[in-house]
């Protein structure tokens, strides 16, 4: 469904964030993208919906070449690829409902969107999605009044509102506490299963990735260095992805040690995993 071939991103200063990445993702598959900070994980998923313009290579979504699309055709393609962000990226001063409905912006004309006039099936869908993500009755609350986990659920509802074929998920759990992180990952996995969505989930937390996804992609310095089922991601191959010394000596926790933008307490995350919270 998604075919990425020879994808390269070179910045004006010559830095190559992505080097000839090749990747094919079938419908309904959940893939975790792991790798050290600065490996190009965010760049990769942003190149797919062209928030970042790729330098070379091709991105095909259901046979459509995304990299060649003009402005309005790109809008159409973006409707099929919904994105979920680490910092939730909700429009904080708008209500939960408005945030969810903003997932339909690619379908609704400008004036109707300005006057908040959305088709009634969209509104019904929005209510249903809010119920599904567990935010029933909160539709008229302002987005910034919600907790982090609730905000991320709004972000998920907004993404599903697009009726996408593919989810691009950028660090969905990095700003959340371990328990909520598990809940959000579980929710994502269930929803993808239910709607038969493919997803690329860019994630720091290796245990979480292994637990909830079908496939692990390891990115290091812009190159895909690992591609396989979670079971094959053993302590022996982790140094290939994250670099550094013998992995098994540290245990899984050290996956996050190099990440400065990650405020999550990984040790407690491991504990939660052991206790099978979800």
């Amino acid at each position: 469904m998604l075919e990425i071939t020879d994808l390269t991103k070179r910045y004006p200063d010559g830095f190559e964030a992505l080097k000839s990445v090749e990747l094919t993702l079938p419908q309904g598959q959940l893939a975790a993208l792991i790798g050290p900070s600065g490996a190009g994980k965010s760049t990769l998923i942003r190149c797919v919906n062209r928030l970042v313009e790729p330098t070379e290579g091709s991105v095909k979504l259901d046979g459509t070449e995304v990299t060649d699309l003009g402005r309005s055709a790109l809008r159409g393609a973006r409707r099929d690829m919904a994105m979920i962000f680490q910092s939730y990226a909700l429009v904080e001063r708008l209500s939960v409902m408005e945030n969810v409905l903003s997932g339909r912006l690619g379908y609704v004309g400008f004036f109707n969107s300005l006057l908040r006039r959305f088709p009634s099936q969209d509104i019904q869908r929005a209510y249903k999605l809010l119920e599904q993500v567990g935010l029933e009755g909160l539709h008229d609350r302002r987005a910034d009044e919600l907790s982090g986990g609730q905000q991320q659920r709004v972000g998920i509802a907004r993404a599903l509102m697009q009726e996408p074929k593919l989810l691009l998920v950028d660090e969905p759990t990095a700003s959340l506490d371990p328990r909520t992180a598990h809940q959000v990952m579980g929710l994502l996995a269930d929803l993808c299963d239910e709607h038969d969505l493919a997803a690329i989930i860019n994630i720091h937390d290796v245990p979480l990735a292994k637990e909830y996804t079908d496939r692990i992609l390891g990115l290091n310095a812009g190159q895909l260095v690992f591609d396989g089922p979670p079971a094959e991601l053993t302590d022996e191959v982790l140094p290939d992805i994250y670099g550094g010394e013998d992995w098994s000596a540290h245990g899984e926790q050290s996956a996050d040690e190099e990440d400065d933008d990650d405020d999550e307490d990984v040790r407690s995350s491991g504990q939660f995993l052991a206790e099978e919270v979800l």
């Binding site: 942003r46 919906n49 928030l51 309005s72 809008r75 159409g76 393609a77 973006r78 409707r79 690829m81 919904a82 994105m83 962000f85 680490q86 910092s87 990226a89 909700l90 429009v91 904080e92 001063r93 708008l94 408005e98 903003s102 997932g103 339909r104 912006l105 690619g106 379908y107 400008f110 969107s113 300005l114 972000g155 907004r158 697009q162 691009l168």
Partner: protein, 296 residues
């Protein structure tokens, strides 16, 4: 950094000798320029007038705030006469204050309409000037910035002076003058607010497939709305002050009454106008502070 002292103990100094020297040269240079400038001003000044300044001030205050204590023959008012004179004095001031009501209301209108117009012009310019929303960083942005700087450099009193010639004296000139000055002020603060928005939120709206205008109305405008309201109210407060004086050049409001009073050397009336202006300014500052606290 340090130089050895006589008994070979290292000495720490904040600046090395060379740094200290340049520091002193710059300080002395600035002092020299200021002194030279002061001499130029002093050459232009009739110092005897300046020395009589305090006496003049006393005289002025006397004429502004006090009734005439002496009758025409130079003797103090007789007891009965004094009270009737004081009554007449107060009645005169009160009558004049009542006359000021209409120009004062005009002043308020000038400030409010001028602010609204200014903000209306400033908003699109701010979007053109902000690095993250401008259609072209190379061409459109510099032009928008040029408009903003030009508007900001020229005081509203000068705009009023020019507009009074072009479209004639009156409130319309005043409103336009206030608006023209407000464009630069509001535009600058607004585009800085736009440049500080959370880009991830905007990316999120873009990635739903939203168009340019939709991205603006969902991804950008809600983020800057509080700043927008705060800036507008802040400028309205400043504009009340400005609107009290642009009448001096004929652009409407209470300043026109002030001009008349000064021309007639009616200092008693001037004092009433000053009190009226002071009250208006204090009131508007209070309203503005309350309103800004409410929107942010």
């Amino acid at each position: 950094m340090s130089s050895p002292s006589t008994d070979d103990q290292p000495v720490w100094r904040k600046r090395s000798r060379r740094q200290a020297l340049t520091h002193w040269v710059i300080t002395l240079g600035i002092a020299g320029v200021v002194l030279w400038c002061f001499k130029l001003i002093s050459d232009e000044t009739t110092w005897s007038f300046v020395w009589s300044g305090p006496a003049q001030a006393g005289e002025l205050a006397n004429r502004m705030f006090l009734p005439e204590w002496y009758n025409r023959t130079g003797e103090l008012w007789a007891e009965g006469e004094f009270w009737s004179h004081l009554g007449a004095f107060l009645a005169d001031r009160a009558a004049y204050a009542a006359e000021l009501w209409s120009p004062l209301v005009d002043t308020l209108h000038i400030a409010t309409l001028g602010t609204v117009l200014g903000v209306m012009i400033a908003s699109p310019l701010a979007f053109l000037a902000a690095e993250n929303t401008t259609p072209s960083v190379k061409f459109v942005r510099p032009v928008a910035l040029l408009f903003l700087v030009t508007s900001r450099s020229v005081n509203s009193l000068i705009w009023a002076l020019l507009l009074v010639i072009v479209i004639g004296p009156g409130m319309l000139s005043g409103i336009l003058a206030i608006a023209l000055r407000s464009v630069g002020f509001c535009g600058k603060l607004l585009f800085e607010a736009i440049e500080e928005i959370d880009e991830a939120t905007r990316d999120a709206v873009v990635s739903t497939g939203a168009g340019r205008l939709q991205t603006l109305t969902y991804g950008v405008i809600p983020q800057i709305a509080p700043a927008f309201a705060g800036i507008s109210i802040y400028r309205w407060d400043i504009n009340i002050r400005e609107a009290t004086i642009i009448g001096l050049v004929g652009a409407g409001g209470i300043g026109m009454a002030l001009q008349t009073a000064i021309d007639e050397l009616a200092w008693g009336h001037v004092s009433v106008i000053f009190i009226a202006i002071l009250a208006t300014v204090i009131l508007s500052e209070w309203v503005s502070a309350k309103a800004r606290a409410a929107v942010t």
